[in-house]
């Protein structure tokens, strides 16, 4: 079996920055194991995108990103035994496979009193506390740790409730976001109190303000950096971005993350100057329009590359938005600032969506980026165990096709004369899962990609000048 795992080829990335991520992640995991042994720093299980990295850093808590650990198990193709372990406890395979992997691993570790045999990259240590947050995004992020707590009954949980107003085409979200802000601030303050109790440390609000400020600057830097990918040829693809999401999502509010993107930006600028694209012969510019990737099949991006397809932009893990384009209320309080950033991010596309008939924030984002990054087609991935990011993708493509037909195509009219007809962008939906490889058929996936490439080519040929 281990022969099989090593057999699959090492993935090629377009940038050196992306290639440096593997060791970075290995170091995180090693860091948590060291911290556990030294018992100086508290370790917290937690999830990405909660705008709480600053709080954790200011109180000297080491986060263990359980989604990341599960992703690693998936990427090295060693998730199955943990998924099966979770199933043996009564959990259904149809649930979030990140959670199944994590719960399976935790239960196993607790039952035998040590790490399971050959733990991926050293394994996931038992935390001192756990920080949940379902928001209105993801039920597993509220239920996962609660389920794990059955096997770690002495580990407390804080569940941060962080809602945001859903899009209503008829109403301005600013009518309500005041009371959302108030609630989120209270939740975050409650969270600070909880962490103070768990660590015995007192929050240094000056330090917190510095970290929030660093995050702000990092956000803007990341946005500027990713905007460079709109170049022709495009210099960095989604395959790379699935690596560079690491400092964005796991090291926010750190100088390390800022420096990483500073260097990435430089690298991209150099490539643009040399016209060194993701591929030599760029034929099709694609957007990864939605869905978490299959962590065990990131090599598929290289397969796309081999057909001349590049991915200048993706919606997945683009967890920052330009702060200077949001009109957030001013505040000196770092907690209030975090809460405004949160609301600003999630409502970023609402105004634009309201202005375009039939549009909706996710669809609006697709349209804007199709134009900004000069996109020829959209690829979506449906991961069967994740309702959070994958419900609504079919509808988005459907709605996009209804209201946005940007491709002028020559067709023969009724009288035999050549007319120009506007068509929607071609799109492709891939299906498998985030870490459950038994759902993935390489043969089937590549067939679909091949067919899609043929469609893109035929659109390219029939494009009216």
């Amino acid at each position: 079996m281990s022969e099989e795992k090593k057999k699959h080829k090492k993935r090629r990335t377009a940038t050196q920055a992306a290639a440096s991520i593997g060791p970075m992640v290995k170091e995180f995991i090693a860091g948590t194991i060291r911290a556990k042994e030294e018992a100086r720093q508290k370790i917290a299980f937690t999830f990405i995108v909660c705008h709480h990295e600053e709080i954790l850093a200011a109180l000297d808590v080491l986060p263990l990103w359980t989604e990341n650990f599960a992703g690693i198990c998936g990427a090295i193709r060693d998730a199955e035994r943990f998924l099966q372990r979770a199933e043996s406890l009564g959990l259904s395979r149809s649930l979030c496979t990140y959670a199944l992997c994590g719960i399976g691993f935790d239960q196993w570790r607790e039952e035998i009193g040590e790490m399971p045999p050959n733990p991926p990259w050293g394994g996931q240590v038992k935390p001192d506390f756990m920080v949940s947050t379902g928001q209105i995004l993801c039920d597993p992020r509220a239920k996962w740790y609660q389920a794990s707590q059955l096997y770690m009954p002495d580990v407390p949980i804080y569940n941060i409730d962080m809602p945001y107003p859903l899009f209503d085409p008829k109403r301005d979200h600013r009518d309500v976001w005041g009371y959302y802000h108030k609630y989120i601030v209270k939740e975050l303050r409650g969270f600070v109190k909880f962490v103070e109790e768990q660590t015995g440390n007192k929050m240094d609000y000056d330090r917190l303000t510095e970290l929030v400020d660093l995050s702000d600057r990092t956000w803007n830097l990341i946005d500027e950096t990713y905007k460079l990918r709109a170049s022709v040829p495009s210099v960095m693809g989604t395959g790379d971005a699935m690596n560079t999401m690491v400092p964005m999502c796991f090291r926010m509010a750190s100088q390390e993350a800022y420096d990483f993107f500073f260097n990435l930006k430089k690298e991209l600028e150099e490539k643009i100057a040399k016209k060194e694209g993701e591929v030599e012969d760029e034929k099709y510019r694609l957007m990864w329009g939605g869905g978490l990737p299959s962590w065990f099949a990131l090599g598929d991006f290289n397969y796309f590359n081999s057909k001349g397809a590049v991915f200048p932009v993706e919606t997945t893990y683009r967890m920052v938005a330009p702060l200077n384009e949001m009109d957030l209320p001013e505040t000196k309080d770092p907690i209030e600032r975090l809460a405004w950033k949160w609301l600003g991010y999630w409502t970023f596309w609402y105004d634009k969506a309201r202005k375009r008939p039939g549009s909706e924030p996710d669809v609006e984002r697709l349209i804007n980026w199709i134009e900004e990054y000069k996109i020829d087609g959209i690829v979506m991935h449906e991961a069967f165990s994740c309702r959070t990011w994958h419900v609504g993708l079919i509808w988005q493509l459907n709605q996009l096709a209804k209201i946005y037909k940007p491709i002028p195509v020559l067709t023969l009219g009724k009288g035999g004369e050549k007319t120009v007809e506007n068509r929607e962008l071609p799109s492709l939906i891939l299906e498998s899962d985030i870490i459950d490889i038994s759902t993935y058929s390489e043969v089937d996936t590549r067939n679909r990609i091949d067919a899609f490439i043929e469609t893109l080519e035929s659109v390219r040929q029939s494009k009216a000048v």
Binding site: E4, Q84, S441, V443
Partner: protein
């Protein structure tokens, strides 16, 4: 397959009949054969219990009991120390936990997916043009079982064909599908708290390759009854015996069906 067991103080007839769609005809068929084998008339049968998917299609049965309870009863009569039963049939697979009295305390079933049953091996045997009965011994000759990653029977079939054309030896592929099935079955059974003794029954138990593959997933040795195909029917007969004995001590007259086999017309 349809089976029948006639029990007196011991088994006096045991018939394994054909497969087919018309279950009432099949039931009649094995009943007739069993009576002939036992050399007794139909009226001599005190009580009849039917079990399995077709249990509702045995018009002459006095009672229907699920396979879960029947396998439990049948197996514990052969292996008094059995606590975990695994049944791998042609259409489904099950895991049953039993207590020391042979009563089920928990069970899991996979009756939704061909890939978790003997059907999976049948399809692959067909694809590779191998006799189903020979699959087990062929799998044992492999030193390097192929890894079949796909869960779905159709995809697995495609995968096997693809690997074959890549030059992977047939016996490695056959071992690989046995591995796959064993993995899936063990995955299901682990939802129970597995305790020894573990007994494997059903058609799958006659496949030596499958027994070996499954053993690799279990912490304890797997026991196999001498005739795995009839443990359900045996259990049903034992159930009938227990019911009649209880009724006797309580002085109750049991309702029984008319002892005649209806002619079944297929329109």
């Amino acid at each position: 397959m349809t089976k029948a067991v006639i029990l007196d103080n011991e088994i006096i007839a045991s018939v394994i009949g054909p497969t087919g769609a018309e279950q009432r005809r099949l039931a009649n068929n094995v009943m007739e054969k069993a009576l002939k084998e036992a050399g007794i008339p139909f009226e001599a049968i005190t009580y009849i219990v039917s079990t399995g998917y077709g249990r509702i299609n045995v018009p002459f049965a006095d009672k229907q009991v699920t396979e879960i309870s029947c396998h439990a009863k049948g197996i514990v009569s052969l292996f008094p120390d059995a606590r975990t039963i695994i049944d791998i049939g042609g259409q489904d697979s099950k895991g049953i936990k039993i207590d020391k009295d042979g009563r089920p305390t928990d069970f899991v079933m996979n009756d939704k997916c061909a890939a978790g049953s003997g059907r999976f091996l049948e399809v692959i045997a067909d694809t590779l043009e191998i006799d189903l009965e020979k699959m087990g011994e062929i799998s044992l000759t492999s030193k390097n079982p192929a890894s079949i990653s796909n869960l779905c029977t159709i995809w697995a079939q495609q995968e096997v064909v693809a690997r074959l054309s890549e030059g992977v030896p047939v016996n490695d592929l056959v071992a690989g599908v046995h591995e796959s099935l064993a993995n899936r079955v063990s995955r299901m059974v682990r939802r129970l708290n597995i305790e020894r003794e573990i007994v494997l029954t059903g058609g799958g138990a006659k496949n030596i390759g499958l027994v070996k593959a499954l053993s690799n997933y279990m912490d304890y040795p797997i026991l196999v009854p001498p005739e795995p195909l009839i443990t359900g029917a045996l259990g049903a007969a034992l159930m009938g015996k227990a019911i009649t004995e209880k009724a006797k001590t309580q002085g109750i007259q049991l309702d029984t069906k008319e002892r005649s086999l209806q002619v079944v017309e297929i329109l």
